[in-house]
């Protein structure tokens, strides 16, 4: 059983190499695995689909560069959906470590495909504010007092879209793209106290905890990790063929492309686990035999 000993003592650098190859190859040569849609993503899509050009959605960028590969595609997809339907969007960030940069970059990426969308009329960008929970609660009283100026230094009273948006009552939905606990606060604090529907786009690792909020009705939709983002991309592309051109643009990172890499890596990790357990049980069997 020489092979068993060698397998158990496998240098972890071989594992690192396989993970690197498994990630890089599908990104360089996309496979195009089929993406199936789950109910939590469809629920958020349907919620925005029911809105019209007079409705306002608040998008909160509560993540930083560390989780951008998961959160960026979902933020882009929801923004593209809103702009396709001409639903008005208010952006902000409550995450201190790069949140506002994520909002800037997402907006810049999406606006390339929507040249007729106008700042201040179709969307407004509030920028970053510290104080998370307190800021969120104060926004329920008066957004203009919490954010005296927008991201570009303009007084909120001079931004046409924000002249009619002062509290959560003037909006139809909050979507938080979150990496930490801020997404939970939107659900358990703002939905509970101000009754505005909340949806969260989170990293895969934090998705399980949001199912409790989803089931209790405190959230109306959930995009869990890269899978959730790819589902939303699929829904938007299928409903708005005009958006498909943006998603097929060379060099653009999308969740659908990222799912190829995730599929390979999940499979690889499962194989590692199976191999290690086979070796573990075979080793235990040998040890038991030797004892007898």
């Amino acid at each position: 059983m020489e092979w068993l000993n060698r397998l158990m003592a496998l240098d972890r650098r071989w594992i690192f190499l396989l993970v690197a190859i498994g990630t890089a190859l599908p990104i360089i040569f996309p496979i195009g695995f089929k993406v199936s849609v789950t109910p939590p993503a469809k629920a958020l899509f349907d919620r925005i689909e029911q809105m019209g050009p007079d409705d306002v959605v608040l998008l909160s960028f509560d993540y930083g560069p560390s989780t951008a590969p998961e959160n960026d595609p979902m933020a882009d997809a929801v923004l593209r959906h809103c702009f396709s339907k001409r639903v008005k969007v208010v952006l902000l960030s409550l995450f201190p470590i790069g949140g506002v940069t994520m909002a800037d970059q997402s907006l810049a990426r999406v606006l390339r495909d929507f040249p007729d969308i106008r700042r201040g009329i179709d969307y407004a960008h509030l920028g970053y504010k510290s104080g998370s929970q307190a800021t969120m609660k104060q926004m329920g009283e008066d957004i203009h007092r919490v954010f005296p100026t927008d991201r570009y230094g303009m007084a909120l009273s001079e931004v046409p879209l924000l002249q009619r948006v002062r509290t959560y009552d003037d909006m139809k939905l909050v979507v938080s793209f979150a990496t930490g606990i801020i997404g939970e606060w939107w659900a358990n604090l703002i939905n509970a106290q101000f009754h505005i529907p909340v949806a969260v786009g989170c990293t895969a690792v934090s998705a399980p905890k949001y199912y409790a909020y989803l089931q209790s009705g405190q959230m109306v939709g959930l995009l869990g990790g890269l899978k959730g983002a790819s589902e939303y991309e699929r829904l938007v592309i299928d409903r708005y063929p005009i958006v498909e051109a943006a998603y097929t643009r060379a060099g653009l990172y999308t969740a659908i492309k990222g799912m190829d890499a995730q599929t390979i890596i999940h499979t690889l990790i499962l194989l590692f686990i199976i191999m290690a357990n086979v070796a573990f049980f075979a080793g235990r069997g040998r040890a038991a035999q030797a004892k007898r």
Partner: protein, 230 residues
């Protein structure tokens, strides 16, 4: 002295805790309480900003100490301080709009300010790189530690395997396109997972509520740096 060190902070803590709770339950017509609650929420936003400053001071102090004592990895500490001071310099100069430092975001013509340049082309890729390394360690850890050693570990292993397969298209492919694994994963997330998560959340909320109550009534005083008996 005892008043300043103990009684006044305890009184302030009790008021800061009781006012928002009272305002939540009483009528909005009680304008004085609602006004005080609004004030406290504003103060919280300001205090949160100072908490960031406190963190910066702490990082600077601990790294200066590390460099002075030439502790293991001190060059990393020096690099960290250089980055922190460099970004702070660009940020402060940008906020004051001095020379080429015109703001901390984008310039009116869409160009990047030095602070934005640092955030976008240094900070963002570095943070993304740090997080990306997790994938390698997770794969290695799964190989080395994820063993079906007992019943609990086996249940965890099987559940994890099913969810990992159910969340990728490969799960459907091995069943000839049938979405059984995806549906099973949805069921596992909707029921056993949500039930367990709810239990954890309720437990944590009860713990937080009881700890808050202890702080408000002055039983828990460790945050003041004093013992209960004082």
């Amino acid at each position: 002295m005892r008043f300043l060190r103990l009684q006044l902070p305890l009184l302030l803590t009790a008021l800061a805790g009781l006012i928002p709770i009272s305002a939540f339950f009483i009528s909005e017509n009680a304008t004085r309480v609602v006004w005080m609650k609004d004030r406290l929420e504003k103060y919280m936003i300001i205090i949160a900003s100072f908490a960031i400053l406190l963190g910066v001071v702490n990082v600077v102090q601990s790294n200066i100490r590390k460099i002075e004592r030439r502790q293991k990895g001190w060059p990393y500490g020096a690099f960290l301080l250089a980055g922190l001071l460099g970004m702070a310099f660009c940020g402060i100069m940008g906020a004051a709009r001095i020379g080429p430092f015109q703001g901390i975001g984008y310039t009116p013509d869409g160009g990047r300010t030095p602070f934005q340049y640092g955030a976008e082309f240094m900070f963002s890729p570095l943070q993304a790189t740090m997080f990306s390394l997790l994938a390698f360690f997770m794969a290695s850890a799964a190989f080395r530690a994820f063993r079906a050693r007992n019943v609990e570990a086996t249940i965890l292993l099987v559940a994890a395997g099913l969810v990992m397969l159910g969340r990728i298209p490969f799960g459907e492919m091995i069943l000839g396109g049938h979405p059984f694994l995806a549906r099973l994963t949805d069921w596992m997330m909707d029921w056993p997972n949500a039930a367990a998560q709810r239990g954890i959340m309720i437990g944590a909320a009860l713990g937080a509520a009881s700890l808050s109550l202890r702080v408000i009534v002055g039983i828990e005083r460790s945050f003041l740096g004093v013992e209960k008996s004082e």
